[in-house]
Structures are given as structure tokens and as C-alpha cells.
């Protein structure tokens, strides 16, 4: 403030400012790098690390091996290579997190925009949100998976069935936070002058919403989405952990951990690898969300 002659800082584009703030957040950077490595490993890994084809007899002989050059993560009770299983399981875990988050975000944004923009829908939709918030979610998820598993599996097959059911169940029970955030944003946005201007030149509600309101709710939704991925991954692993998740031949990290529990006392590493993978993923996603929240908030940015 004392030196008024100092050159004004060069104006930077919004995207650049956000990135600068984001990269100042050490945790967020750590999260981005760790998550990047994990996603890369899970996507490319299964092509680089092809487990040996073992006959059943060979596999049984090689069961319960510790980490070695041949099996970096050891083998499980059926002689399956743990590294290959971890990589495949990671794909499913991350896919579950992403797809469930997408469902929750799309549904939550839809409800939030409708409730915020159309006053007549506000009451009923928000009561619906409150009701969902009061539901005991974990018990209901367990019941849903337990009761509908066989039916869905008989329609689309056991693997896809488990995936569809779990992703849908998680998505449909985690949209409420997004809906509330979006509604709050829309309520303030729709009173802005530019929305009034758009309305006065005769723009229809659909156009106002898509063109003027939605782009402005992107940043809170992005933060909610990041945190949603973490939540979905944890919820899925909770279901798998309680034995109501994915079938053992189509594992997720949660399922691997559940399988390893029986051998925990003798082969603790079989629990530690998947648990570490889940925790690292969730930790980095949470850090990214934290950093994004700071970076996308113009009041904090530049401080």
C-alpha cells in the first residue's frame, strides 16, 4: 500500500489464476499427482503386467506366496497374482466412484436447478431432499443390494448386474448435498441483472438455465463432484466389506480387503495393499477437492 508506484500485476486469465491458486496448495498438488499415478497404473497396468497363465495345479502350489520378483504383491489363497488383481480391482473401484458421482451430480443439479428456478417446485423438491437426508442410508443400501442383487444379475449378468445396481444405489442416495448447493446458488443467480436482461429480451427458461445459470454453478458443483467420488469409493468398499458388494471374480479394492480379512493374522499384506489403495485414492481426491474449493473461490484466490 505504501508504494503506489509499483507496477500493477499483470492481469491473468481466470483459468490461469485458478491454476496458480491450486498449485499453491501443496496437498492438492500431492493429491493430483498421486491420483494421476493411480489412474495411470490402473489403466495402463493390466497391459504391462500380464500375469502368467498357470494351470490349476501350479496355482494351488503357488498359493499364499509372499512378495517376490515373480509376484511383487504375492499370491492369494487360490494362487492368483495379487498385483494383477489389485490393478483390475482398481479399475472397477475408480469406475464405480466416477459413475456413481456422475449420477449423483446430474440428478442433484437437476433437482437443485428446478427447485431454485421454479418457485412452484421448490417446496416439494426440497421436502424430497430433506426426506432423503433423513433416510438411514447405509442400512438401506445394504437392503437394496441384498434384495435386488439376484434380480438385476439375472437380467444383465452377475458382473454388470452388481456394477449397475451398486452404482445406481450409491448415486441415488448421494445427490442431496449437490441439490442443496445448486439450489442456493440458483436462487441468488436468478436475481442477477444479466438473467433479468435475458428474460426481458424473451429468452425461454430452458435457455436462461442452460446459457446463463448453469455455467455459473459449475465451480461449486465441481467441488461437490470431487468429494462425491471419494464418498462413492468409500461407500462401495463398505458394501464390499460387508460381503454385499461385488462378486469375488470381479473384485474391487473393498472386495479384496474383505477377502483378505480371513487371512489377516498370517498374511496382513493382503489387507494392507487394498486398504492402502483405497485410503490413498480417497485422501488424494479429498485434497484435490480442498484445493479446488480454495482455487475456485474468488474471495480466497489471490491472497
Amino acid at each position: 500500500m505504501t508504494d503506489t508506484n509499483a507496477a500493477m500485476p499483470k492481469p491473468v486469465s481466470q483459468r490461469r489464476a485458478i491454476w496458480q491458486q491450486f498449485s499453491n496448495h501443496k496437498g492438492a498438488l500431492f493429491g493430483l499427482i498421486t491420483l494421476g499415478i493411480l489412474i495411470f497404473a490402473v489403466l495402463i497396468g493390466p497391459y504391462l503386467w500380464i500375469p502368467e497363465k498357470l494351470s490349476v495345479a501350479e496355482a494351488i502350489k503357488l498359493k499364499n506366496q509372499g512378495p517376490s520378483f515373480r509376484f511383487p504383491f504375492g499370491t492369494d489363497q487360490l494362487g492368483r497374482d495379487m498385483l494383477a488383481r489389485m490393478l483390475l480391482a482398481g479399475r472397477v473401484s475408480l469406475a464405480v466412484g466416477l459413475v456413481a458421482m456422475l449420477i449423483a451430480i446430474v440428478f442433484g443439479t437437476l433437482v437443485g436447478v428446478l427447485a431454485g428456478y421454479f418457485r412452484r417446485l421448490d417446496g416439494p423438491l426440497m421436502r424430497l431432499t430433506d426426506m432423503f437426508l433423513a433416510l438411514p442410508l447405509v442400512p438401506l443400501l445394504l437392503v437394496m443390494v441384498m434384495l435386488f442383487r439376484d434380480r438385476v444379475a439375472s437380467i444383465v449378468g452377475p458382473e454388470l448386474g452388481a456394477f449397475t445396481l451398486i452404482v445406481f444405489a450409491i448415486g441415488i442416495t448421494s445427490w442431496m448435498a449437490t441439490a442443496r448447493i445448486v439450489r442456493g446458488e440458483v436462487l441468488t443467480l436468478k436475481e442477477r441483472e444479466y438473467v433479468l436482461a435475458a428474460r426481458s429480451i424473451g429468452a425461454r427458461p430452458s435457455r436462461i438455465i442452460l446459457r446463463h445459470i448453469l455455467p455459473n454453478v459449475v465451480s461449486p458443483v465441481m467441488v461437490a463432484a470431487t468429494l462425491g467420488v471419494a464418498e462413492a469409493i468409500i461407500t462401495e468398499s463398505v458394501l464390499s466389506f460387508l460381503g454385499l458388494g461385488f462378486p469375488p471374480d470381479f473384485p474391487t479394492w473393498g472386495r479384496l480387503l474383505f477377502d483378505g480379512l480371513q487371512y489377516m493374522q498370517v498374511y496382513p499384506e493382503r489387507v494392507i495393499w487394498p486398504g492402502l489403495a483405497i485410503s490413498l485414492t480417497v485422501l488424494s481426491v479429498n485434497y484435490i477437492g480442498d484445493g479446488l474449493r480454495d482455487a475456485l473461490d474468488p474471495r480466497i484466490r489471490g491472497r
Binding site: 426426506m131 433423513a134 437392503v143 441384498m146 480387503l257 486398504g275
Partner: protein, 335 residues
């Protein structure tokens, strides 16, 4: 305040009715009913009798209303009878578990103490850890302690309890052998030795859940303290020459605890329901374990009743949190 409480109570009734209907229908209309699992070798007339005995041949609406009546009228009547020796309930039919044919509420009554002792202690421990951490992190913002506290909270958020619990078992029970891996439900505390045994077996579940709770609550505590530290009344207190200790612990802490207390109240339903994982992992024979057992055994009345109890608790503690907020903070008036 009273009118607000009454209005919220009245509003809670339709919410709970809708929730009860959702829970009832979701469980009842699902394809995996235990009645479809009766072996084909059972003759048709026996099968019919079995269905009748379970009351599953009645229309859905009829069973729903009957269940509601049992839940809200018959069961409380039995409870009052049990306490005061009255005969209000007469011999009305209670909600029976399909697994054990005994009343669901009796089973819940047997299981609840285990849950409350273990999970309740964990919650208390969590609060007791979290509040000092939150206070000190806020007082020395951006210090090393604060950074460490942030890291601790972030890890506590991110490491799911089933993994931290397993890690604790591996480290403290398998490698070090300090604590037992499983919780022994049969243990009765009679003397000092059995009390110590009880403490030892509670250590791991309490640690697992307590750390997870502490992570969340310490964050709330810290941000609430930070909000208040910059207030004018804090400057006034310092200007009057009060010691730093009085300023922080009397003035700032009391005002900062208001939102934290409501957060703590909002978390209480999870003591009853959210600890399913911890109970399963450590073999605590509580409500969460009962729910999982009932789900695996397709015991519909038990699942419906437990899920609905959780919902009632959530609605109730939301209400309590709102009322508490108004009571504790005179600046907030709902009328």
C-alpha cells in the same frame, strides 16, 4: 421457541410417515423375499400355512398400517407395562422377528447396551480428543501443530474405518498382542480384573471410531474458533486486560462451542446406526451387527423396524440440534 419446537414436531410426523412407507415398501416389494426361498419339496398346503403364519398373505397396505400401529402403539405400551407393571398392551401382537420368533424390540433391548457402551464411549473419546486439538489449532493458526492437526483430520476423513480398524488389529492385537482381536460379548464386569479385561477389549473399537469422529469434530471446532477469534468482543476482553487464558477459554470457547454442540448432536444417530462396520469388524454384538444378521437372513420385520428406528433417530436429533442452536445462541430466534 416453544411454538417453533411444536411446529417442527408436527412437521416431523408427515416426514416420518413417508419415510416409514418408503422403508416398508422397499423391503416388502423386493424380489428376494424369504417366502420365495421355501424349498419346493414343501407341500402347497404347508407352504400356504407358513405364509399365513408369517402374516405375509395380507395386502400390503393392511400390513403397513398394522406395522405402524405395532410400532407406535403396541410396542410403547409393552414398554410402559414393563416399567410400571400396568396392562395397557393386553395381549396385542408385537412385531416378531422371523429369525427367532421373539419380539424385535426385545432383541433390540438386548443388543442396545453393547452398542451404547462401545460406540458411545468412542464418540465421547472422539469429542474429548477433538475439542482441545481444535482450540489449540485455531489459537496457533498455521503453526506446526495446526498443520499436523490438519493432516491428522484429512487422514481421519479419508481412511475408512474398516481399514484403520484392520490396521489396528494387525498392529496392536496380532503383532504387539496388547489387546484381543475380538470383542467378547459374554464378559460380565464383576471385579477389577474383569473391568480391566473389558477396557482392553474396548480399546481397539473405541480407538478406531474415536479417531474417525475426532477428525471431523476437530475441524468444526477449529473453524468455529477462528470465526470467533476475530470478533470485537475478543478485542474488548483483551483490552480490559484479561489473561489470554480467560479470553480463549471463557469468551471465545463458549461462543465457539455453540455450532460444535449442534454438530455433535447431529452425529448421535450414527452412534446407533453408523457403526455397523466397526461392530462387524470387532464382533461387537450390537444393533449394527443385528441389522447385518437380519439382512443376511431376510428377516424383513427386523430390517424394517431397525431401519425405521434409525430414521426416527435422525429426524429427532435434527430437531434437537435446531432447538439446541436456538437455546444456546440468544442471537438466533426462529419466531
Amino acid at each position: 421457541m416453544l411454538t417453533f419446537t411444536l411446529r417442527r414436531l408436527l412437521l416431523a410426523i408427515p416426514t416420518l410417515l413417508v419415510i416409514s412407507l418408503v422403508i416398508f415398501l422397499l423391503v416388502d416389494l423386493a424380489p428376494g423375499s424369504p417366502l420365495s426361498d421355501i424349498p419346493l419339496t414343501v407341500p402347497p398346503d404347508v407352504r400356504k400355512k407358513m405364509i399365513e403364519a408369517l402374516g405375509a398373505d395380507q395386502p400390503v397396505i393392511f400390513r403397513y398400517v398394522l406395522w405402524l400401529r405395532q410400532f407406535f402403539w403396541v410396542e410403547p405400551a409393552y414398554l410402559i407395562d414393563g416399567w410400571f407393571g400396568t396392562t395397557w398392551a393386553g395381549d396385542e401382537q408385537r412385531i416378531l422377528s422371523w429369525q427367532s420368533r421373539s419380539p424385535v424390540f426385545t432383541i433390540i433391548g438386548q443388543r442396545l447396551p453393547q452398542t451404547l457402551i462401545v460406540i458411545g464411549t468412542a464418540y465421547l473419546v472422539g469429542i474429548l480428543i477433538a475439542v482441545p486439538i481444535g482450540i489449540y489449532s485455531a489459537y496457533r493458526q498455521y503453526s506446526f501443530f495446526d498443520q499436523a492437526g490438519t493432516l491428522f483430520a484429512m487422514i481421519g476423513f479419508s481412511v475408512p474405518t474398516f481399514f484403520s480398524g484392520t490396521l489396528f488389529i494387525i498392529i496392536f492385537a496380532v503383532w504387539l498382542g496388547w489387546f484381543p482381536t475380538k470383542y467378547d460379548t459374554q464378559l460380565v464386569v464383576t471385579d477389577w480384573a474383569s473391568f480391566l479385561e473389558q477396557m482392553r477389549q474396548m480399546a481397539l473399537p473405541v480407538m478406531t471410531l474415536g479417531l474417525a469422529n475426532a477428525a471431523a469434530i476437530s475441524r468444526y471446532m477449529r473453524s468455529s474458533m477462528l470465526d470467533n477469534m476475530g470478533m470485537d468482543y475478543v478485542r474488548t476482553a483483551r483490552a480490559k486486560g484479561m489473561t489470554e487464558r480467560t479470553v480463549i477459554l471463557k469468551h471465545v470457547l463458549r461462543n465457539s462451542l455453540i455450532p460444535v454442540v449442534t454438530v455433535i448432536a447431529l452425529g448421535i444417530p450414527s452412534i446407533f446406526g453408523g457403526a455397523i462396520i466397526t461392530e462387524n469388524l470387532f464382533g461387537v454384538n450390537g444393533i449394527g451387527a443385528a441389522l447385518i444378521g437380519a439382512i443376511h437372513a431376510s428377516d424383513l420385520p427386523m430390517v424394517q423396524t431397525l431401519a425405521f428406528i434409525f430414521a426416527v433417530l435422525i429426524v429427532l436429533f435434527n430437531l434437537i440440534a435446531d432447538v439446541l442452536y436456538g437455546l444456546l445462541d440468544p442471537r438466533i430466534r426462529y419466531d
